[in-house]
């Protein structure tokens, strides 16, 4: 399960994705407040107009047959919707499911090389809604290719994104099924008995500079779902930079890190300032599952519940 050699890097990449998201935080917050609106997918029909997170309009016509996805979250979603066979391009980071690996790699997904994307002759391109993608979106549209741009930064975002993409692909009913099952799997973890005091976790994203997750991030939300708390939850940025000394002071019960980073933390003497490291409480995570607010986030929440709350709890 934890064999991906560069999953720590991909985890960081997700943090970068998350970093672009100040506006999305507001969108997600509004969504969270109106659970009903998010829980029930809007119904879309052929001829309807779909508006994406950049305010661009896509008029649903014939379902696209050649899709390029420049966001790991939408790549996984495409396969979950049963439309994986329409995928003709993905980013270097999209390695799940297995079938996605066979699809052409068109680059790292942020500020993409438009010519390479067009070379795949797509009729729809899915992108992450970051400023670095704006120029590419204009160029793709000018070339007559439809685009859908979404911020996928928070748990609630997926409930907003799934119906739009499912509608664009002409698989609305499957979309509702997928959205419901993702929602249900996350809520099933949230519904488990809560510990009286949540385990306090430090989530390691990057070594130099040391970066963690702040309160405004999907991973922080996921910790709450699992019944744990983020020791840096009071910081507003999605991926703030912190000092080792400050981590030691906040004294988390457990550290979460990708396999390579966990090894570095164990080896580096300075990290012994953190009690959880001295006492060996490091949980190695597969950042390709736990790091992405995608269709597998129920699985991610269950993993955290099992490895933080059920096995470590609150050892004080």
């Amino acid at each position: 399960m934890f064999q991906h050699r560069s999953s720590a890097l991909r985890g960081f990449r997700q943090a970068v994705y998350t970093g672009f998201s100040t506006v999305a935080v507001t969108v997600a917050a509004v969504c969270l407040l109106s659970v009903a609106a998010c829980g029930e997918a809007p119904r879309l029909n052929a001829g309807d107009a779909v508006v994406d997170d950049f305010g661009d309009t896509l008029r649903l016509a014939a379902a696209p047959s050649r899709v390029v996805s420049l966001n790991p979250v939408t790549t996984e979603l495409l396969f979950a919707l049963g439309a994986g066979d329409r995928l003709v391009g993905r980013t270097s980071w999209d390695l799940y499911p297995e079938a996605a690996r066979a699809v052409a790699d068109v680059g790292n997904g942020m500020g993409p090389n438009v010519e390479v994307v067009l070379g795949q002759r797509p009729d729809l391109v899915l992108l992450y809604a970051s400023e670095s993608n704006r120029l590419a979106i204009q160029q793709l549209r000018a070339a007559g290719v439809q685009t859908l741009t979404h911020r996928t930064d928070r748990i609630a975002d997926l409930q907003r994104v799934i119906p739009v993409i499912a509608a664009a692909l002409g698989v609305d009913s499957v979309g509702r099924l997928v959205a419901d099952s993702v929602h249900a799997s996350v809520e099933s973890v949230r519904a488990l008995p809560r510990p009286a005091e949540p385990a306090r976790a430090y989530w390691h994203i990057w070594d130099a500079p040391i970066m963690t997750i702040g309160g405004g991030s999907y991973l922080s939300e996921l910790l709450e779902v699992a019944g744990a708390a983020n020791v840096f939850g009071d910081l507003e940025q999605p991926s703030p930079q912190v000092s080792l000394e400050e981590i030691a002071r906040r004294d988390p019960d457990v550290l979460l890190a990708g396999p390579l980073a966990a090894e570095r933390i164990r080896r580096t003497p300075g990290w012994r300032a953190v009690r959880a490291v001295r006492e060996g409480r490091i949980v190695v995570i597969d950042t390709t599952i736990v790091g992405r607010p995608g269709v597998r986030m129920g699985e991610a929440a269950r993993f955290l519940r099992l490895h933080i709350v059920d096995s470590i709890g609150r050892p004080r």
Partner: protein, 324 residues
Amino acid sequence: MKLHVWLALVLLLLVAVVLGVLGGPVPLAATEVWSALRGVGDATQLAIVQNLRLPRVALGVAVGAGLAASGTALQATLRNPLAEPYLLGVSGGAAAGAVAAVTLGLSSALLLPLFAFAGAVVAVVIVLLVARAVSGHADPRVLLMAGVVVGAFCTAVIMVALATAPENTVRGALWWMMGSLGDAQWRSLRWVALYVAIGIALLVWWSRDVDVLALGEDAAASLGLPVERVTRRIYLTASLLAAATVAGAGLIGFVGLIVPAIARALGARNTRQAVVAAALAGAALVVLADLAARTLLRPAELPLGAVTAIIGVPFFLWRLRSAR
């Protein structure tokens, strides 16, 4: 230099070291720090003082002393007050080496400094070869020009590497290039300290030759000094000294530029005094700048290279104005 100036420099360094160990993002009382130094206290406090702050301050002393001494020797030998490792391609070579390590996926704490050092050595050797090919001997002006050009080439190599690398890699490399003492560990510190000690000792040992060089090449040659060999020897030693500090802590600019100016302003009468005075002042400056870097924006850390530049540039401009 007068005795009280020396005492003041030593005292300044001591104060900087004490402040560096006392201060940090986590407030610890002086008594707690003192107990931790003697091995008494809870494990977290012990680790913060012994594994985080002490190696950081020690690395700051080594890096600051090394950069300042190197800058002083380079300025004296090349007879140009602007000469410093940054300008001469040494830092550029080290940065290119480090970026190469990162893009090859070899960015471990052990390999990154080795690649940086190798990059710096390659850059210095190329500068020396170019200088020899152009002028037939180690002409200071040609050395400077070759250094600038090789530095520019290294920047281009870095840009190519970063343009084709994924942004996570870029971030790690950029952070490293901004300079930081955050990776200080006793194990890696040992060889940086050894290198700096040997480098400064050699520069002090040869400083008499530099003083003779300062009389002008012809005068020095007529006094029996092998001008070319001396220039090359000191250039190489000072560059390798700077390369070791860059390998230990990334790129920390302006220390090698402004501290030698301070040493001269304090009244250093010859190269030997200037090198030693600059080493003391440079060590104090880097330790204090690092203290600022890790406390000003708590819980985040500022890049040390940015702090030294923010202190260094206005100071340098002010010096330029008063020198007019």
